[in-house]
């Protein structure tokens, strides 16, 4: 069936033929047709990663089987969401090892983007917790693990679905005693002090993330709220419970008018957000969902950005070039382009995947409503800062990077392309993102 697909940022629609996958055999049969295709899960990537205009898009949601938990690992279909997985595992005291800012991503999507969470500095990214997985390629199915076909295993992690279609994943889970978090919150008046604190004491917490204000004027630029947490144990709570994060969700009934989010309204929001946070609070008990997935409470929050949608810009830079973070924030503030509280986080070591995003250092993610005429050029300038700092932008968020920068940001691109040409010699797996960034030929 022909459908119009769009990324979460609602910027680049694509018309494609959507086919629903129900089994691994379906994948093999689709690939046998020789048509160009890409898999798609819940469409949470911001840009054009999970679509292929004029081609075939394989909807993976039918591959949703969740197996029993055996010694802390579970085999889960690539189309199951983290939300569905948690509904199964939480009551038995198991949490996902890594979750991005939303539960509404599929396991296949988590592999494709090699997602990271607030625990990256301790636990690394999603790939680090995958024991094995099934991947169907144009050259046949593979059972992959860090020991079997390690090259293809790692080349698939973070490769945005371009090596094949993941059908199931054997995932290590994390033991938890309750469905609550113990959270410490601190407010910092400027960027330097929050970064110093994170450098010094992030290791003491499993989860850590900072919200940074990129619009406050003068010396308040980069003021931040740092939240750090651990899973609550039975002793922390009177009546410990283990149900999964609830799914009672609000919905935005209609698209907001474009321009509702302008420099003025966003600055006021940032001010309120900053003032709302306690200067210092220790040991607050917070439900899992509220801590990990604050925006999941509103089903289609992306509509708040109106008809013009938004872009997200997330980059990381290595430790030794951390100055780039301040430079980007200053450049952003000077441009007066509205940006919501940015998310700042420290990354632990990179894994072995050539296209995985995280590298040891810092990452900053910005939500930017489209509409400001300065925005396209501003982001091009930020790219230059990032490239000079030997950093990179995140494919899962991207919808506008210059293709020339890809090999500079991902210097191991050639390794990925080698593996891809082995399992996909006719470049059957492609996406609009891959074409736009020159990750695949014609």
């Amino acid at each position: 069936m022909t459908e119009t697909l769009i990324g979460w940022g609602r910027r680049t629609p694509a018309v494609a033929t959507v086919r629903v996958l129900r089994s691994e055999n379906d994948v093999a049969r689709e690939l046998a047709s020789g048509e160009a295709m890409i898999a798609r899960g819940l469409g949470r990537s911001y840009g054009d990663a999970a679509q292929l205009s004029g081609g075939v898009v394989l909807a993976n949601r039918g591959l949703s089987h969740i197996g029993p938990i055996v010694e802390g690992t579970v085999t889960v279909g690539a189309g199951a969401s983290i939300d569905e997985l948690l509904a199964r595992t939480m009551p038995q005291g198991w949490f996902v090892p890594v979750t991005p800012g939303t539960r509404y991503v599929t396991i296949g999507g988590a592999v494709a983007a090699d997602v990271h969470g607030k625990n990256h500095h301790v636990d690394g990214s999603f790939a680090n917790h995958v024991r094995s997985m099934r991947l169907v390629t144009p050259e046949g199915p593979f059972q992959l693990s860090p020991h079997d076909e390690p090259e293809l295993f790692w080349a698939t992690m973070g490769a945005m679905g371009l090596t094949g279609v993941v059908t199931s994943v054997e995932l290590n889970l994390t033991r938890v005693e309750t469905n609550q978090m113990v959270v410490d919150t601190d407010r910092f008046g400027d960027l330097e002090s929050v970064m110093a604190e994170m450098r010094l004491r992030d290791r003491d917490y499993r989860y850590s993330v900072a919200w940074v204000d990129c619009m406050s004027p003068g010396t308040a630029l980069g003021r931040a709220i740092l939240t750090r947490a651990r899973h609550a144990v039975t002793n922390d709570i009177e009546r410990p419970r283990l149900d999964s994060p609830g799914s009672g969700r609000l919905a935005i009934p209609f698209r907001a008018p474009s321009g509702a989010l302008n420099a003025c309204s966003v600055r006021s929001f940032n001010e309120l957000w900053y003032r709302r946070a306690p200067r210092r609070e220790v040991g607050a008990i917070v439900p899992l969902g509220a801590f990990f997935h604050p925006l999941d409470g509103v089903r289609n929050w992306n509509l708040l950005y109106g008809k013009r949608g938004f872009v997200q810009y997330q980059f990381c830079v290595p430790e030794e070039h951390e100055d780039a973070i301040a430079l980007v924030i200053e450049r952003l503030a000077r441009s007066k382009v509205p940006s919501f509280l940015a998310v700042l986080k420290r990354f632990g070591s990179a894994n072995r995947a050539p296209l995985s995003f995280p590298l040891a250092g810092w990452t900053l993610a910005l939500d930017l409503p489209v509409g400001s005429q300065r925005l396209p050029t501003l982001l091009d300038e930020l790219d230059e800062i990032v490239v000079q700092a030997h950093g990179r932008v995140y494919f899962a968020k991207d919808s506008r990077l210059r293709p020339e920068y890809v090999p500079l940001m991902y210097p191991r691109l050639a390794e990925f392309l080698n593996v891809k040409s082995r399992v996909d010699p006719h470049t059957q797996l492609k996406s609009d993102l891959a074409r736009r960034l020159g990750l695949v030929g014609g």
């Binding site: 119009t4 940022g9 910027r11 680049t12 629609p13 694509a14 018309v15 494609a16 160009a36 840009g47 054009d48 292929l52 205009s53 004029g54 081609g55 013009r308 949608g309 872009v311 489209v370 509409g371 005429q373 925005l375 396209p376 919808s399 506008r400 990077l401 210059r402 293709p403 492609k430 609009d432 074409r435 736009r436 014609g442």
Partner: protein, 259 residues
């Protein structure tokens, strides 16, 4: 398959009427914003060569040309196909910048001249649009940008031939835009006011006159917003509203006072 990005910045572009001043200014701006492959179609080989050099200087890596005559709408579809083939991949953006101002005082009494003016400004672009529509819809993505004119808003005595042809094209495009909903293809028009170019040389400059580079700037903004109707400069939106609603007597006094 699209290669254009979240800001409507294309990588592969076809420009019909590629040697016009406005088209050249747009090409340069597109190059600066990551466009790499161009096919420039025009009627004059040496002018196309100049436009090609512009594009290469600004960073285009592949520029091809196609020759055509806008007085021959029979071949419009073939010209479009040739241009698409030379791109050799998905086409992100097709710019139509074909136009002929004419000299009305001498044209208006000649059936041949009137036919030529209507053909170049309306019939040829209309025929080309039909083929572009077909190819882009099959591709499932892409964008068409047509250079219309504020002259399309209300016909005036001193340029009624040009105005009416542009009005025809302009209205066709707004309808075409609706017909493309749900196909993945976008249709946009920009209505410039008076632009200082080869085409308008020697004419008196009305208020809100711009240069070709300014038009290109507003084209880039239009691509980013995706709005169907765009103006250069943007204030003309309001000027045009007034023009449209002026009583005929007043309109004639204002519009034709200087000619």
């Amino acid at each position: 398959m699209i290669v254009e990005n979240a800001f409507g910045q294309p990588q592969n572009v076809v420009v019909l009427g590629g040697s016009s001043d406005i088209a050249r200014a747009i090409t340069k701006r597109l190059c600066a914003a990551r466009a790499r492959t161009f096919v420039l179609a025009g009627r004059n080989e040496s002018l196309l060569k100049v436009a090609t050099n512009d594009a290469v200087e600004c960073g285009a890596t592949m520029v091809n040309t196609v020759l055509f005559d806008a007085e021959e709408p029979k071949y419009a579809a073939a010209t479009v196909r040739a241009a698409f083939e030379k791109v050799g991949g998905p086409v992100d953006l097709v710019v139509i910048a074909v136009g002929l101002l004419g000299v009305q005082s001498s044209d208006e009494d000649s059936a041949d001249a009137v036919m030529r003016l209507i053909t170049v400004n309306f019939t040829w672009p209309a025929a080309a649009l039909a083929e572009i529509r077909r190819l882009l819809v099959a591709q499932g993505s892409g964008r068409i940008l047509v250079i219309s004119s504020i002259a399309a808003v209300r016909v005036r005595r001193s340029a009624y031939l040009y105005s009416s042809a542009k009005a025809g094209l302009d209205r066709m495009c707004t309808g075409l835009a609706q017909s493309l909903e749900g196909t993945g293809v976008k249709m946009q028009i920009i209505r410039p006011g008076f632009v200082r170019t080869k085409m308008s040389q020697g004419l008196a400059e009305p208020p809100f006159t711009t240069g070709a580079s300014e038009v290109a700037e507003y084209v880039m903004r239009a691509l980013a917003t995706g709005d169907v109707v765009n103006w250069s400069p943007p204030i003309l939106r309001y000027v045009a509203f007034v023009i449209e609603h002026l009583p005929a007597v007043m309109w004639r006094r204002i519009a034709d006072s200087k000619s």
